[in-house]
Amino acid sequence: MTMKKIFFTILAISIFSAAYAQIDRSKMPEPGPAPQIKIGEARSFTLDNGLRVFVVENSKVPRVTYSLVFDYDPVFDKEMAGLTDITGGILRTATANRTKEMIDEEIDFIGASMSVYAGGLYASGLSKYTSTLAELIADVIINARFEEEHFNRVKTQTLSGLMAGKNEPSSVAARVNNVLLYGNNHPYGLNITEKSLENITLESCERFYNTYYKPEITYMAVVGDVKFDEIKKIVENYFGKWERGLVPKHSYPTPMPPKGVRVAVVDRPNAVQSVIRVGYPVDLKPGAEDIISARVMNSILGGGTSRLFNNLRETHGFTYGAYSSLSSGKLVGSFVANTDVRTIATDSAVNEILFEIRRMQNELVPLNELNLFKNEMNGNFALSLEDPQTIANFALNIARYDLPADYYTTYLQRLSAINENDILKAANKYLMPNNVNILVVGNASEIAEGLKRFSSTGKILYFDEDGNEYDPAKKLKAAPEGMNADEVIGAYINAIGGEKNLKGIKDVSISAISEIQGMSLNIDTYLKAPDKYRMEMGSGGTIFSKQIFDGTKGTVTSPMGEQPIEGELLEDLKFQSVMNIELYYDKYNIKRELKGIETVGEKEAYKVEITYPTSKTETQYFDVETGLRIKLISENGVTEIADYREVSKVKFPFSIKQTSGPQSFDMKVLSVKVNSKLKDDLFKVN
């Protein structure tokens, strides 16, 4: 009894004192002894067909994940850039045994997920479905079936993504940066374009699949609440029949950094921010001897709350963030510093980035700063081990990049041994401020001048969204996503009065005048719905020529006499005679395609290509702001249209300027009359 009581009192006192012991809150607590980092084990086996499999047993959560890496050499095919992505995109759609619907249903039914992309596959689910999931994966990878329907859908989705990306400055920057970093002759420098997408066929995807998706270049990691022996049996069972094939090898010359400083701009006239990328290719292979010091060096410069961040955001307030990345690669790696800044701060920001890069090369990093980043990397290594997938990735990397078996178990030791001199050495080896590409996606007219001082040649190179260099004097840019030719034409119809008012027009008489070599020429045009047309040209009451179309037949009268219009000319005249043909493009089988936005004079205009069934084409330009048609280019020359005025609720152009070769023909409209009940006789062709 007493014992218990005494014990209780002691307990109470100790709790009491623990609670009210004076603690010194001003002192940050010291960490406990560093915990032992145990890196879980990955066991592996290889199937007869060459498939290498790594298994990490971890029973913490009753789940399983499969990840596959298809480790083929990158393929260089300029005409069909994107072929690998499209192929990856169709892979999950159908197999010899299953339709897409069946695959979707089976995956969802067990609450699992599976995604396939060009370079690999990832699937996860509850571990009780380990075998079910393996069977599905094997079917998708080994027995893929290529169907037109899914192919078209993946292509359309890719196209939509491409279009959307063109509106997204950061994705434009990524595309153009690929070209700058790796050049046009390296697979990393290739971007999907509308054109390359068009060239990709279902057959080419199937061929690619049959050539490259082979077991001997595939790595598989299985992680979770599984047993090695069980996985071995399952994988042998489902993947054993996967047939070997000779996967072609490809090698490419290693891309080199530019000779000097190259400044490239992608013009976005309305941008309020500049997207900046400063970078070059780096020869840094996974597992390189000094890769850890190179990574610590980059962290100090631009990883997280680092020098670039502190300088550009905290000190200067140019941006919300500024970072850099130094990545390794089997073929080639890269260094890229990136930030998005207010337009006005563009050149100052570039200057500060280069300043920080040079500072890394010229000054020893203070010890406390070095330790901050080493500690962070140390901790993040430990935290990453919570996810068993990390262990699998370690094993995969060791196999793929031929790293020493103890590469990751000795990682923390090597990290802790890094000193200030190692950082300086890495900075001088991997940072090249005198051989960089400076890419800015932004408002060229406001930033180009300020950027010239960085360029070795004093010149700015201009690139379009696909990474093609162009002369800024002639430039077409992409129309916003979702915009198409019919939208543009619809806007035009609305701008001139709307469909209802246009359809209310039964006939029009237009009287115009033009000065040619001091002589004034009258041009009178008559149109009657649906498709009658008459034009007279003359001067001082004398008619020189006239053209008539009655709906089926046409004639032309000139000083040489009257002649029927026939053949191609008649076909052309037919379309020319239709009242407001814009309303009936479908009916007349006239195709239209939005090509992009160009500057016409001071204005931005949608460029629409019209193709007649005669396969003649015409390019029309519509003011982005007003919707009005302002320019037209056909084989007959260029027509510039302006001075729209409203007559009976419909707008007509009162100024029409036609240029054909060296000749220019300026027409001023004097009057437009609508619905004056023109007689059919006026359009009679004998």
């Binding site: 009210y20 809150r25 607590p29 609450g111 509850l126 859908r153 962070e376 993040n380």
Partner: protein, 440 residues
């Protein structure tokens, strides 16, 4: 024959499920400090990682209508510094310790967390106790965070395509209840507020008796209890009255429709149906209905609208879990050239089919399986275990649901799914917004 097989399969599934559920129970212990701080500890020594979280039972619904954004603003101030942690050091200390730190604010709660190598447990306790006991709220910090929050608002809401959707939905769906506004709040109120108001807000809500401390990971429970005592026991209990709104939002009384013009290329349709609060039996059925409507590529909406008719680029639906009656959202983005109205009709059709024809036995089994998988996945990491324990304690009054909430899902019947569709997914119980591109 077929029937038997199905029955056998179901029984087998059920059996294996019970096995796996038993397999892994998340053990924890919980207690209160004298000052009212509720503590929950979960020990798992498999990786040298510890998650330390403090959840305060305060969110935007505790705000005054003319002081919206306070709880979220406080989240920013909590990183500014304390008596013993100089301004700007909070992130750096955690970085130096090799850890990660962050926070989020919802309508109902504010959650702060550190994820650290386990030998840094004491550091996290010191930091969390500092901001509870000693937070410095001064004009420098308030001014700095005012501009940061403005940037955040403009980046994440105002200038992001479709970024204002949730805000617009809640604005239309609630007139009396404080769910009318989002945690990000209005810039003007943050600007109008005096320094003292922020200090009072902290003094009222950021007190031990309104908080739950959860530690999950590589700990020794006994030693951890001592450390908690050391850093938290002397934090005084809060004295101010905690405002917990008891406002009942009246029923909608008919459909509400509106159009919002945004800087977008493709139109979007949003439907928001009023539903009960989280924890209500029907909320489980609604969540399971979501799987059938839009969970995965075999779901009804995805198959019919995205895959087959290709009217939508994406369609998804989800209940928005809130402590008071909330919303069930259906969200679709139209494909190029498809009008919002057209997409909405396609969505309505799918809802109608569920209401009129119910769901199949296979679909029912599918949603159960999906629910089970997501339940297990949601407790895969220490940080999510800690978050979930706090959530279950505060809003369900039972942290043990981390192991048993799945039973509530499994109790839902096929008829329930059909019934909740009928009961809640009604036209007169919804807000419909069309997001249209600003005219070019």
């Amino acid at each position: 024959m077929k029937f038997k097989q199905l029955w056998f399969l179901t029984a087998l599934l059920l059996f294996t499920f019970m096995l796996s559920a038993q397999q892994r129970k998340i053990a924890f212990e919980e207690y209160d400090l004298k000052n009212g701080l509720h503590v929950i500890l979960h020990q798992d020594n498999s990786t040298p990682v510890v998650a330390v979280t403090v959840t305060y039972h305060v969110g935007s619904k505790n705000e005054r209508a003319d002081r919206t954004g306070f709880a979220h603003f406080m989240e920013h101030l909590m990183f500014e510094g304390s008596e013993n942690i100089p301004r700007g050091e909070y992130f750096k200390i955690v970085q130096n310790a090799g850890g990660q730190v962050n926070a989020y604010t919802s309508q109902d709660k504010t959650h702060y967390y550190e994820l650290l190598p386990s030998n840094q447990l004491e550091l996290a306790l010191w930091m969390e106790s500092e901001r509870m006991l000693h937070l410095v709220i001064d004009s420098v910090g308030v001014e700095t965070q005012r501009s940061v929050v403005k940037e955040e608002r403009s980046q994440s809401y105002d200038n992001r395509p479709y970024g204002s959707i949730i805000e617009e939905v809640f604005k239309h769906a609630y007139t009396k209840h404080p769910f009318n506004w989002l945690p990000i709040g209005s810039v003007q109120y943050i600007d109008q507020a005096q320094l003292k108001e922020f200090q009072d807000f902290h003094k009222t809500y950021y007190v031990p008796n309104n908080a739950v401390l959860v530690i999950a990971g590589d700990i020794d429970v006994k030693a951890t209890r001592k450390l908690i005592e050391k850093y938290f026991a002397d934090i005084p209990k809060g004295k101010a009255e905690l405002y917990r709104p008891q406002i009942v939002e009246p029923p909608l009384q008919g459909e509400i429709r509106d159009i919002v013009y945004d800087n977008i290329q493709l139109p979007a349709v949003i439907q928001a149906y009023r539903i009960p609060e989280k924890g209500h039996p029907d909320s489980y059925a609604l969540e399971m209905l979501t799987n059938i409507l839009s969970g995965g590529e075999s779901s009804r909406m995805y198959k019919a609208i995205v895959d087959d008719a290709q009217k939508g680029l994406a369609v998804f639906s989800f209940p928005f879990p809130l402590a008071d009656p909330g919303l069930y959202l259906v969200f679709g983005i139209a494909n190029m050239g498809v009008e919002a109205g057209d997409l909405e009709r396609a969505i309505d059709e799918q809802i109608k089919i569920v209401i009129n024809e119910g769901i199949s036995e296979r679909e029912f089994q599918k949603t159960k399986n999906m629910q089970e998988a997501s339940f297990i996945t949601s407790n895969a990491r220490m940080s999510s275990i800690a978050d979930n324990l706090a959530e279950y304690h505060i809003f369900y009054g039972d942290a043990g649901l981390i192991n048993t909430e799945i039973d509530r899902y499994m109790k839902v019947t096929r008829d329930d799914l059909n019934r909740v569709a009928k009961q809640y997914l009604r036209e007169d119980n919804r807000v419909v917004l069309h997001y249209l591109p600003k005219s070019q």
